[in-house]
Structures are given as structure tokens and as C-alpha cells.
């Protein structure tokens, strides 16, 4: 396999892992955890690297995980005091941890491996170069094996606990009555998120981890309400973003992480516009329709309530916060459907109009 293909494979695996994981974050409205964790793991990684001087050491991941857990614990503790706003506590904590990391990186590791480029941009372009060597045999790039393992873990977890996860996501109160322990599950899932963030962080850097954990799932969220479909759509978008972004990066001769993040974001924006049900265009059409019905009913209601039979056009027009155009449109629809009568005195409601009004009021 050529280097480019390996890099592609790693990028795709990373994207799928992050997009899958992120679905649960987005559904639970906890996307910011991704941002926080991706910053908080830095000191853990750096300290482990300082100690073991080996980039492929599993200690890096473990240490990073501990760093992440430290952040979670500190934030919980601060929140429990009730003295500080929750989001602020999160921001303060992960920034502090990240700062420790940056300082370490600049002081102790001046030489090659860690600098802001790696931290922000990750190391995707170089990831395929480092092989995993077992017993003197080069098997595959280390990053590939790592991400493949994480992916397997994640998918297994999701498949086994699919029902429970679904319940927990959408109704944790209900899942408690069924005897599942949402707290326990939540903890395991949080651990998985940490493992994902930590493994992906080294390859993808902080920005891409966050981008892939939020943008593709958010896009999927707009397209469906079903968890399974969301997972599939999210990972697909992750794959597409990583492929396009990678080639964009190669073409511009820069780290591919920035491009991949941007592409994922652009796909999201396009979906916001064009999504069939939730998209802006679709909604405008629907809202326009609903608004028309509402105005027709309002028009009839105004006629019905008055003692006089006939209401002058101006009075009617001025009674509701609609534009001239909306008023005339409502008028013409009511006219066509024979819900109103018109004369020189003004407008009045007909029997059919009254029936329609009564029906729509029932439906309210």
C-alpha cells in the first residue's frame, strides 16, 4: 500500500470513530465535552512522552485518559460547590490543563516532536510513516492499528448496548425504570469518548477531533431522528469530509486537518439549507403554507366575532399583523372557497365559512 493510501485509511478510520462517538454527544447536548477533552488531554500526553520518550507507547494514551478524567473530576467538584457557573468551570479547567501542556511542550520538548503544529493540527500527514513493529516485523502504520482497534471497540460497544444506549440517550428516566443503570452506562460511554478523543488527538489534533465529533453528527441530526440512521449518516459524512479534506490538504501542501474540518463544516451548512424536512428551504415552504392557513382562519374569526354582518375591508386589514399581500392572499382563498361574501358594505362570513372555522378550532 502506498503512503497516500495508508494516510487515507487512517484519516477515514479516525473520521468514522469521531463521527460515531460524536452522535451521542450531540444527542445529549454535550458537544462541548469534545472541545474540553481535546484540550485537557494535552498535559497527559506530554508528560508521558517526557517520561517514556516513545511516541508509540501505550502510556501516552493511558496518561492522556487520566488527564481527561482529571478534568472531568475537577469540573464536577467545582460544579458541586455551586459557586461557579458550570460552563465557566469547564472553560477554566480545560484551559488551565491545556496551558500546562503548552508550557511543557515549549520548555522541555523544544526539539522536534511536539509543537503547536502538532497540537492543533495533529500529525495526519506523518502518521503513516510510523510503523507498528512486532517481533521485528513491520505490520502496518501504528496509527492505523490504533484507530482500527478503537473503531472495533466502539462498534462492539454500540452493537452490544444498542438498546440501552438508545433508551439512555432519549429518556434516561425511563431507562432507570427498566433496571438499566444509566449512570454506569454513562460512565463507560464517557470512558469510550475519552479513549476516542485521546487516540484521535495524536493523529488529528485538537481542532479536527472537535470538528469531526460535532459537525457530521449535527448534520445527521438534521436529517433524521432515528439513532441507527444517525450513526450511519454521521460516519458517512465523516468519511466524505476526510477524503475531500485530505486531497485538498495534499493539493495545497498543508496539514490536512484544517481542510477536513472546513469541509465537514461546509457540508453541515449545505444541509442546513437543503435538508428535506429540517432544512431552511423546506421550512420556508412549509411555514409559508402554515401561515396562509393561519391567516385564513384569522380572517374568518374576525368576521365571525363581530355583531355587524359586514366588516369593511380596511377594518379587517388593520386588525391583524399581516402584510397587504398576505391579507389579499387570504382574502382570495376565502373568496374561492366561498367562505366569505363580499358587497359594497364590506365582507361577511358565510355558513360554509363558519363550518370551516369551527372545524379548525376543534383541531386546535
Amino acid at each position: 500500500m502506498t503512503l497516500v493510501l495508508w494516510t487515507l485509511a487512517i484519516a477515514v478510520l479516525t473520521a468514522v470513530v469521531c463521527s460515531l462517538c460524536g452522535v451521542f454527544l450531540v444527542v445529549k447536548h454535550e458537544s462541548m465535552i469534545a472541545e474540553a477533552l481535546s484540550h485537557a488531554v494535552l498535559p497527559g500526553i506530554l508528560i508521558a512522552f517526557l517520561v517514556f520518550q516513545d511516541r508509540t507507547s501505550p502510556w501516552l494514551i493511558i496518561s492522556a485518559g487520566l488527564s481527561g478524567l482529571l478534568m472531568v473530576w475537577v469540573v464536577q467538584t467545582i460544579r458541586k460547590t455551586g459557586l461557579v457557573d458550570g460552563d465557566a468551570a469547564l472553560g477554566i479547567t480545560f484551559s488551565a490543563l491545556f496551558s500546562v501542556g503548552i508550557i511543557c511542550a515549549n520548555l522541555g520538548l523544544n526539539r522536534v516532536h511536539f509543537d503547536s503544529h502538532c497540537i492543533i493540527d495533529g500529525n495526519l500527514a506523518m502518521a503513516a510513516l510510523r510503523p507498528l513493529v512486532i517481533g521485528g516485523v513491520e505490520i502496518a502504520p501504528f496509527a492505523f492499528v490504533l484507530m482500527a482497534t478503537v473503531l472495533t471497540l466502539l462498534v462492539t460497544f454500540i452493537l452490544i448496548f444498542y438498546k440501552e444506549l438508545k433508551l439512555m440517550m432519549f429518556d434516561s428516566a425511563l431507562s432507570q425504570t427498566f433496571g438499566f443503570k444509566p449512570a454506569m452506562l454513562h460512565l463507560i460511554w464517557l470512558a469510550l469518548v475519552s479513549i476516542t478523543t485521546v487516540s484521535a488527538f495524536e493523529i488529528a489534533g485538537s481542532i479536527l477531533v472537535v470538528a469531526l465529533m460535532i459537525a457530521p453528527p449535527a448534520t445527521a441530526f438534521l436529517l433524521t431522528r432515528r439513532l441507527g440512521v444517525m450513526l450511519i449518516i454521521s460516519s458517512t459524512i465523516g468519511v466524505i469530509s476526510s477524503v475531500i479534506g485530505l486531497y485538498l490538504g495534499l493539493g495545497l501542501d498543508i496539514a490536512p486537518t484544517g481542510p477536513i474540518a472546513s469541509v465537514a463544516g461546509m457540508i453541515f451548512l449545505l444541509t442546513v439549507l437543503l435538508a428535506p424536512q429540517q432544512g431552511v428551504l423546506a421550512k420556508w415552504r412549509r411555514r409559508g403554507q402554515q401561515r396562509s392557513y393561519l391567516f385564513q382562519q384569522l380572517l374568518l374569526a374576525r368576521l365571525d366575532g363581530d355583531d355587524k354582518n359586514w366588516v369593511e375591508n380596511e377594518t379587517l386589514a388593520g386588525a391583524v399583523a399581516w402584510t397587504d399581500q398576505q391579507f389579499r392572499k387570504a382574502l382570495s382563498v376565502c373568496r374561492d372557497k366561498k367562505w366569505i361574501d363580499e358587497s359594497t358594505l364590506g365582507i361577511s362570513i358565510t355558513g360554509e365559512g363558519r363550518n370551516y372555522l369551527m372545524e379548525s378550532m376543534e383541531r386546535l
Partner: protein
Amino acid sequence: MPTANPAIAIKGLTVAYDSVPVLWNVDLTIEQGVMMGVVGPNGAGKSTLLKAVLGVVPTLAGEVQVLGKRFSAHRQQIGYVPQRTSVDWDFPTTVLDLVKMGTYGRLGWFRRPGAKEKHDALAALDRFEMREFANRQIGELSGGQQQRAFLARAYVQDAPIYFLDEPFAAVDATTEKAIIRLLKSLRDEGKTIVVVHHDLTTIMDYFDAITLVNKKIISSGPVATAFTSDLLNKTYGGPIKNCGIDCGFAQPPVQLRHPSAGNAPGIGATSVEADDA
């Protein structure tokens, strides 16, 4: 009898969010000097009704008149006591400061509250027996004290009308009685009090008039006539028991005090049990 202007006159009010009507064609008149309860199920539009009169939500149709004139916020005519859950109790402000906020409306843009405002605020606190808490942080108050602080804020506005949104949620019975006493004394001074209320068992005792809302006005008027089991059926969409009335006629109710004092507002189900027959 000379007809004074009604405190609030609403005609044809329709409010819609996203083209979905939340309040439909509401006609409502609230006379001056009356203590009115507003009840209805969750999502019925009760809070929206108050907010629409205050001009805080955009309306699709209808007019609102306050004391005979079109409502204008600048006239400071309605004092608003918000739901407890919508207040940031950790906000750095003392009780005195909170009440002084009620004077901001009359101060205009660049004037600061001065000695007069402080004096008025202290007088308002006296009225509600909160003077000793003037320098306390609002987060350190009990539920009843919090309500009284907000009432003082409305009082300092010198408003003839008070709107209260679920004031008795998560407040114990003694405190509730104390607040009702305060509200009734305000009403005896000629103020008009409108309360969004969730506990059907206490309606007869507290209010002169009642409005039943479920997106539309189901009924509105004196408690004796507007609060019947039929109308409650229509409002809540099902038979209600244990609400303190019997067969739709005003009798001295059995005061069923539900242990719902600790519940969040709007969980009407704890004070209303739908018949499962």
C-alpha cells in the same frame, strides 16, 4: 354604577410561534381591583398570555388595552413577578438593589438611581416586611422572602396591576397563606392582581375571578360561575377530581392540601388527578 375602565381589555389576541398558534383569538376583560387566577394545563398559553399583554412576545393579531388606553410599556403600569425557575439566584445583587431595579423604568436612559429611589425602595420593603433583608444577597433568601422581594419591586413601580407567574410553586403552605394575605391586602388597596396558578384546590379560597385557558379562553368570570367541573373538563380535556368543587356548584370546598409543595411549577398533575374510569 359608574363603569370604570377595565384594568385589562384584550380583544382578538392571537400569538403564534412558528405559525403554530399558542393563543387563539383571546377575548378577555379583567376588571379593576379584582384578584384573578389563570389556570390551564401545561402548554395552555398562560405565561404567554401574561407576556403578550406585557408586550414581550410578538402578537399576530389583537389589541390590548390597559386602563382604557393602548398598552405602552413606558407607562409602567404592570408589575411583573416572574417564575422562580427563571431567575438567576446567584446573580450578585442585594434585595435593596433588586427593588431599586423597579425604578429604572421611570429613570430613563442615563440617570442613576439616587436618594429618592433608595427611599422608595426601602418604603416598598417596609410594606412587605422585608426591610431587615435589604442588604442580603437574593440567593440567601427563603422562597417566601424571594416572592416578597419581587412583590416589592413591582410595588415600587407604583403599578396598579400585578402579574404573578406561578408564585406558589415550591413554597410551603404557611408561606403561601402569608403571600395570599399580602396579595389580598394589595387588592383591597385597589390594585388588580392576576396570578397564573396551578393548584386547583385553592382557587375558591384565593380568587375573586378565574380564567380557564387552553389556547382559547374556555371561561372567564367570577369564581362562582366560571369555575365549574364542566368547564374544567373542557379545559383539561378530562374529568378532574379532588379540585375542591363538587358537581359544578360553589360549595365550601374540602381543602385538600396536596403534598405538592415541593414540586416544580406546572406539574398540574400533582394537584389534579385525572379520573381513570
